[in-house]
Amino acid sequence: MIAVRADGYCADDGACIEASLADPGRFAVLFDRHGRAVASYLAHRAPASAVEDLVSETFLAAFGSRDRYAAGQPDARPWLLGVATNVLRHHWRAENRRQALVERLRRWTPDRGDPPAEGTWTEVERVRHALDRLDPGTRDAIMLLAVADLTYDEIARALGVPVGTVRSRIFRGRRRLREWLEEDASWTT
């Protein structure tokens, strides 16, 4: 079977990635096919001002590690979303360090307003807060299911964990979210 035609067309993502090892420009088709999906996923998980850089980082990281793409996988979207998830983690780690610094500085600037009290949160804020309380692995699985519409098998590929782990994370995560949101709802009643 010839996976890559002479005119450069590659039928599936795996063939494109393999071809890009010899001809790096072939990798661009991955962006054309999945760039919007990756950008949309990142837009749900990061501030709008950071999305463009994160999309770039994701595809540059994927491009740099394309020699490790699992051969025989025709759909690279789960892989790309897994790379995006890791890029997000690094982004948030850096952001948390920056926020910690800001917080330390804030102690010396008492005129700055405090964040709103929990009891006055909107529903959106409550949901986001509940998502923040999840452990990172569970949050990633939930977001890949809710926002990126991946199947459990695809989430397992994206995160590099067994599918059983994905099932238990999502089951546990959804149960916790429901519990927390029900608790939070009582604040405003």
């Binding site: 661009a28 999309v55 490790r68 983690r89 926002v147 964990v161």
Partner: protein, 427 residues
């Protein structure tokens, strides 16, 4: 409204990414994908920030070291050529070698002695080059027509090598023997890709990859390549290592079964059995073995492609896994291992902002030292403008090699041997 819809609505961006933004990213990506473009030309803003972080941490020491290097060079401006770095005697030292000029990406190297090395890579097409002077100079070698990439290499004895890659729309196995050019050998029907190979002797060699949606193992049996039966359910194999100088030879291959990492082993080269994998590993990135009881290591990952990395030791294959042995703090990327003849294991990787295009050769040294379990040293030397570790490298006796890119193009690096450290470098 179900909870997933609630999550989607609560996390919805104010506006979806638009075509203009995607176009900007596409152009940035296009710039990064040009063959042979030095890394420094493809940095994104985030990577530049990473670079600045490195540079900031390095600034105090770097100034002093640059002064030392400049004095050593005898002029105020470093010459734009690879340079040997001679630093403090008791520290790990790197020496840059001759350029492999036409390589856009060096993918594998094998050295059977301190002087005889072979390297393969991907440029405009596949490239192979040999050095007989410890990397001071490289001579390109002709490859069979239609070979488009060579990504794995194993040389059991000087001048005798096998390499795998792609060509003519399918997988390729190329070989060279002493005094002979590269030729291709027939790949068994049905094999669609070959990712890794290990040749413990001039007559014993195994390669792994895929056959459609299943894994493939091919065995150089009786002078021709034949497919070996693979345990059911294994969908891909990405790395293989075989012991040398042992009887029997043992091989260990790692891959994936669609939902979990798998490890296979053989003691007769023909019958492969599934091993119990390290319990916590979610991926097995690479396998490498040494001879004479040195064991086989697998590099295992957690949490996806950039997860925490550890290595496990198993020897012989009937024994339980030893480890995990954590890699030094800060190393979260690893894409290969190498076992030197003395059983020493070195993984290639680095901190999350690799390729470490930050502090140039300094970062490579830092990464090398971290991977060897030594304390990171302050960045030193500013004589090369950009360096990254592209892959891991060699089997056989020391020295250990690292691959990277300098301001001029791709360069191979190696750690000096003890004798070289004592006696200094050849001019």
């Amino acid at each position: 409204m179900d909870d997933l819809t609630t999550i989607r609505r609560a996390t919805a961006p104010e506006s979806e990414p638009d075509a203009e933004m995607l176009g900007r990213v596409r152009r940035r990506l296009d710039g990064a994908m040009q063959p042979g473009l030095p890394r420094r030309g493809r940095r994104s803003r985030s990577r530049r920030r990473c670079r600045l972080a490195f540079a900031g941490a390095a600034v105090g020491v770097a100034a002093a070291v640059v002064a030392v290097v400049l004095v050593a060079l005898g002029g105020p401006a470093p010459a734009p050529r690879p340079l040997a770095l001679r630093l403090v005697d008791d520290q790990v030292q790197l020496v840059t070698t001759g350029q492999l000029s036409s390589l856009a990406d060096v993918t594998a190297m094998a050295c059977v002695s301190a002087t005889a090395c072979e390297a393969v890579g991907v440029g405009a097409g596949a490239v192979a080059a040999a050095s007989d002077d410890g990397g001071q100079t490289w001579t390109e070698q002709a490859l069979p027509a239609g070979t488009t990439s060579l990504t794995a290499l194993s040389c059991p004895v000087a001048g005798s090598c096998w390499a795998t890659g792609t060509g003519n729309g399918g997988p390729v196995i190329a070989t060279t023997a002493v005094g002979q050019g590269w030729t291709t050998e027939a790949v068994p029907d049905g094999v669609t890709s070959l990712a890794s190979l290990s040749c413990p002797s001039a007559t014993a060699c195994w390669a792994v990859g895929t056959a459609g949606h299943a894994a493939a193992i091919v065995d150089l049996a009786g002078g021709r390549w034949v497919a070996s039966p693979v345990p059911a359910g294994v969908t891909s194999l990405t790395s293989i290592g075989c012991t040398t100088g042992t009887s029997p030879t043992e091989c260990l291959a790692v891959g994936w079964d669609g939902t979990a990492p798998v490890a296979l082993s053989t003691v007769d080269g023909a019958n492969w059995t599934t091993m119990v994998t390290p319990a916590a590993a979610v991926s097995l990135a690479a396998a490498a073995c040494s001879g004479r009881g040195g064991g086989c290591n697998v590099l295992a990952g957690y949490g996806g492609y950039w997860g925490e990395v550890v290595r496990y030791l198993r020897w012989p294959s009937s024994q339980p896994w030893g480890g995990p042995t954590p890699l030094p703090p800060g190393v979260t990327v690893a894409n290969g291992t190498v076992m030197a003849g003395n059983g020493k294991c070195v993984a290639i990787g680095g901190p999350p902002c690799t390729p470490p295009d930050a502090a140039e050769v300094n970062t490579v040294e830092q990464v090398v030292r971290q991977l060897e379990g030594e304390a990171p040293v302050p960045p030193t030397g500013q004589t090369l403008t950009s360096v990254y570790v592209s892959s891991s490298i060699t089997s056989g006796p020391s020295p250990v090699w690292y691959l990277g890119v300098s301001g001029q193009g791709l360069t191979a690096f190696r750690v000096l041997t003890s004798a070289e450290r004592m006696g200094g470098l050849a001019p």
